[in-house]
């Protein structure tokens, strides 16, 4: 299927869409349709992209249909149903009338990357406010038309309705083909939760039927007229240079072009299988810089780098309360433990894929990036084009869970398309994806703590070693341009990785310090719930260690220090669902155990409590997770089923990361480059799940895309300890580590 067809849906007949083409267009009436055009100069004359203009987000058509322009994209997370629900509710429109356009930089306002669980919390809320502004304006127009006070008027079904006479005026009649030309009003009143008809309903997502019948147009399925296939041949070692290319090694393959820009090397062909064979056959020799530390030495490297003036990026006190040093010195028993979270890959099921069409008059990029607007800037910079000449069109990829290779692959495609003057599709291999996607950075935490005579938390210290994100770095350095010798801003991007680094329970004496590091062992980026997973793993495990040392029930120990009612509610819900009996850990059984963990995400977002039941197979060192219970409060729930699915995904993906995942590398390159060396959770590992969503219809919606992740690892570690007295402080919890911990108490 060539990505050129314009299925005729009402929304697509609208003039601005025809002029500009569209990105991923989902109409609720007709499933999924799509269309787009190349970037052309006319695009500049398109609709406003301003985030403070109602017209930036909403267009109402004469036929009564509405188009939402959303800068955030649905990464498989359900925004595609939830955001239209929010807008339809405020605007008084049936859901079927709404078409959503996501991420297209020529049509949507830049609402920032779809990251940090911000899709609904910020992106959706902004569009909801635009919808409320629009509704107020429409009511105002009708009030003027009828000469009636606006208080008598309401909206329903795309009409303003007079409550007295039941007279109706269609939105399209009121607007008469004109745009709103209106600033977004932050104070436009929102509908009362009691009146919600669409928000809060578990409506099905519009993309699933197409996804399970092979009709959904993924990024990987897009084709463009005249498109060539390319494969990039990545260096043999990180930072290696080409020392020789034997072009004759691909002579037997017809129709193969070699593109080389310094150390950036690619092969191009009209045929995908030919180019795959060429990439394999091409003989290239590389230097071997051996510049990496190796995955098994990261921990010691971090500590050393923290003390090395050349590698340290400074020490910082993040939180201080009371005098923890004095309190610890005066305590009878001080516990200390350190926890480590390894480098991990985003490990998307579909290796990254992108298409670039670089022409003299404009550049079009097709991408599954979580940040199309950011990618637009990246492409403009590396191609040395003004921003207005670059358009990025979003297409769904495989779930990315942060900045995976989606941006890199588009930079690859842009370089090659520019070099050969034709549209180019680059598909990464499995080895490329696991080897070269930017990695979640490693985290090391050392805790010290003490319990007082009454068995309560008395003092706490956290010391962290973390790669430091570079301030105002526009994007991580792209692989292809780096090898091509193109100047780009250098630095690290990690996401906010220092949050949730101390327990949210009352404690008189507290200190959180961080040793910032200038570098990370492999190029880092944000990976789902950045930093908060590792920090909560360490904090909630160490809370358990302190409770156990005082012979206290770990849940009671937490609850007596917790005053936030929403936090208490999720904890108590899990306790109820697990029929939690108060007793100290470990249990008597020797193989069956339960664990608990609580996280208030970033200390100001979603509340999550998780309980787990496990069985330990001592001989095999195996952990069998039998049941996971989660209580989740993310404020107002827009779509309970989509939210539940996010929570399920958070839990199972993090279970995978905790049990199995570590990016392995030697001194020159990543060695865990397939699904055998980088294993994921599989179906036989899947436990029973029970999820309780605590709705807060009167509070703002918060994120559900990552918070639950953060509570998973400690609940598991605590359950393992409860089952067998072995404390796991290093991820992943491999059978070797379990056996070691069984033998010596910890690993």
């Amino acid at each position: 299927m060539t990505d050129q067809t314009v299925p005729c849906t009402p929304a697509l007949n609208r003039r601005d869409l025809l002029r500009a083409g569209s990105a991923l267009v989902v109409t609720f009436a007709s499933g999924l349709a799509q269309a787009q055009q190349r970037n052309t100069p006319q695009l500049k004359a398109g609709k406003t992209l301003k985030t403070d203009e109602v017209d930036g987000f909403i267009a109402l058509a004469p036929d009564g249909s509405a188009t939402l322009y959303c800068g955030k994209v649905d990464l498989g997370t359900g925004l595609r149903i939830a955001i239209p629900q929010m807008a339809a509710e405020e605007l008084g429109l049936p859901l079927e009338a709404i078409t959503l356009i996501e991420g297209d930089t020529a049509l949507t306002p830049d609402q920032g990357p779809t990251a940090g669980s911000s899709g609904i919390m910020r992106g959706g809320v902004q569009i909801r406010q635009a919808a409320a502004t629009a509704r107020e304006a429409l009511i105002g127009m009708a009030a003027q038309h009828w000469g009636k006070p606006r208080n008598d008027l309401t909206v329903a079904d795309g009409h303003v309705v007079d409550g007295d006479t039941q007279e109706r005026l269609a939105f399209s009649v009121l607007l008469n083909g004109k745009p709103f030309a209106l600033k977004l009003d932050e104070k436009a009143p929102l509908k009362k939760p009691a009146d919600y008809e669409i928000v809060g309903k578990p409506l099905p997502r519009p993309d699933i039927a197409a996804k399970v019948t092979g009709q959904h147009p993924y990024m990987h399925d897009v084709t463009i007229d005249g498109m060539l296939h390319a494969r990039v041949i990545r260096p043999q070692a990180v930072g290696a240079s080409i020392t020789g290319i034997d072009e004759s090694s691909v002579k037997t393959l017809s129709d193969v072009k070699i593109v080389r820009i310094n150390n950036f090397l690619a092969v191009v062909s009209r045929n995908e299988w030919t180019v795959i064979r060429a990439a394999k056959a091409l003989k290239v020799s590389w230097s071997n810089p051996a510049s990496l530390v190796g995955h098994d030495k990261v921990k010691s490297w971090m500590v050393a780098a923290g003390n090395d003036a050349a590698q340290s990026a400074g020490k910082e006190v993040l939180t201080q309360k009371g005098d923890s040093a004095k309190a610890l010195a005066e305590s009878k028993q001080v516990l200390s433990a350190s926890y480590y979270w390894p480098l991990q890959s985003h490990a998307s099921m579909g290796p990254s894929c992108g298409i670039a069409d670089v022409r003299p008059d404009g550049v079009t990029i097709w991408s599954a990036s979580q940040a199309t607007h950011r990618l637009r800037g990246i492409c403009a910079r590396i191609l040395e084009r003004p921003l207005e000449q670059v358009r990025v069109i979003y297409r769904d990829g495989a779930g990315c869970y942060g900045t995976n290779g989606h941006d890199d692959v588009c930079a690859d495609a842009a370089l090659i398309s520019k070099a050969i003057g034709q549209p180019v599709r680059v598909q990464w291999s499995r080895e490329d994806e696991l080897g070269w996607d930017p990695k979640g950075p490693p985290q090391l935490l050392a805790m010290r703590g003490a319990v007082n005579g009454e068995g309560r938390l008395a003092a706490w210290e956290t010391e962290m070693w973390l790669p430091k994100a570079t301030a105002s770095l526009p994007n991580i350095p792209m692989l292809g341009p780096q090898d091509a010798g193109i100047n780009q801003p250098q630095g690290l991007s990690t996401g906010l990785i220092s949050q949730n680094a101390h327990p949210p329970y009352a404690h008189p004496h507290l200190a959180v310090r961080v040793n910032w590091l200038k570098d990370s062992p492999l190029r880092p980026s944000n990976i789902r719930a950045p930093g908060k997973i590792a920090n909560s793993f360490a904090v909630e495990s160490f809370v358990d260690e302190l409770a156990a040392s005082a012979q206290r029930d770990s849940l009671e120990f937490r609850l007596e220090g917790l005053s936030d009612p929403r936090g208490l509610a999720v904890c108590k819900k899990v306790a109820e669902l697990m029929r939690w009996q108060a007793r100290p850990s470990p249990a008597k059984s020797g193989s069956l155990g339960r664990g608990f963990s609580y996280v208030h995400y970033k200390f100001n977002e979603t509340y999550v409590a998780i309980g787990m039941e496990v069985e330990i197979k001592r001989r095999a060192g195996a952990i069998v997770v039998k049941r996971i219970v989660c209580a989740h409060d993310c404020g107002l729930i827009i779509n309970p089923d989509a939210t539940r699915q996010q929570v399920e995904g958070n839990i199972l993906q993090t279970l995978s990361r905790t049990l199995f995942e570590e990016t392995q590398f030697d001194t020159s390159k990543v060695t865990s480059v397939d699904w055998q060396s980088y294993p994921l959770l599989t179906f036989p590992d899947v436990p029973e799940l029970e999820i309780a969503l605590l709705d807060q219809p009167h509070l703002p919606p918060l994120g559900a895309g990552e918070a639950a992740c953060a509570a998973v690892p400690a609940a598991l570690a605590n359950a393992v300890y409860d089952a067998c007295g072995a404390r796991l402080r290093n991820v992943p919890f491999t059978p070797d580590r379990v056996k070691l911990a069984l033998a010596r108490g910890h690993a």
Partner: protein
């Protein structure tokens, strides 16, 4: 350039390839516009590329076009459509058993094959049948529910 006559979704489709070892996956996706089967690893490790060959699950990244000749191939598109889905596809929709959905092809294809040989599998049977199909999004629980639903059973 040789031509391989392959039976795909009930029709004989000629596939041109200059290499008899070219995996069927690329022919399906690039030549026949059947993009339901996905490229996930090319190594036979993930299952995103699955198709049915004579009713058995085959990874189309590991089956060459020359080997495909003489087999009856069914792809995800051959099972059903949005308007008229196969019962397994319908169950996936009812359970909303996809996040990104990149793995969905392999899950549906394997489920269809499983129910073909075992119409009333228990939960462990389903887990075993899908054991070599990976999902990054953590959609496993819903996929299990969907397969149980398609077999006319509820998940325990």
């Amino acid at each position: 350039m040789a031509v391989y006559q392959c039976s795909i979704n009930g029709r004989i489709r000629p596939i041109e390839a200059d290499d008899p070892d070219q995996p069927l996956l690329y022919a399906l996706r690039n030549d026949l516009s059947l993009t339901g089967a996905k490229f996930g690893c090319g190594l036979g490790q993930c299952g995103t590329c699955c198709v049915l060959a004579d009713g058995e699950v085959v990874r189309s990244c590991q089956l060459s076009v020359s080997q495909a000749v003489g087999k009856t191939i069914t792809t995800l598109e051959g099972l059903g459509t949005i308007e008229n889905p196969h019962p397994v596809q319908a169950a996936f929709v009812t359970e909303q058993a996809a996040q990104c959905g990149y793995c969905a092809n392999g899950m549906v294809i394997n489920a269809v094959a499983l129910l073909g040989r075992n119409p009333k599998p228990n939960l462990d049977d389903v887990k075993q049948a899908l054991a070599n199909n990976l999902c990054r999004c953590g959609t496993h629980d819903r996929i299990l529910r969907a397969v149980m639903r398609a077999s006319g059973q509820v998940m325990p």
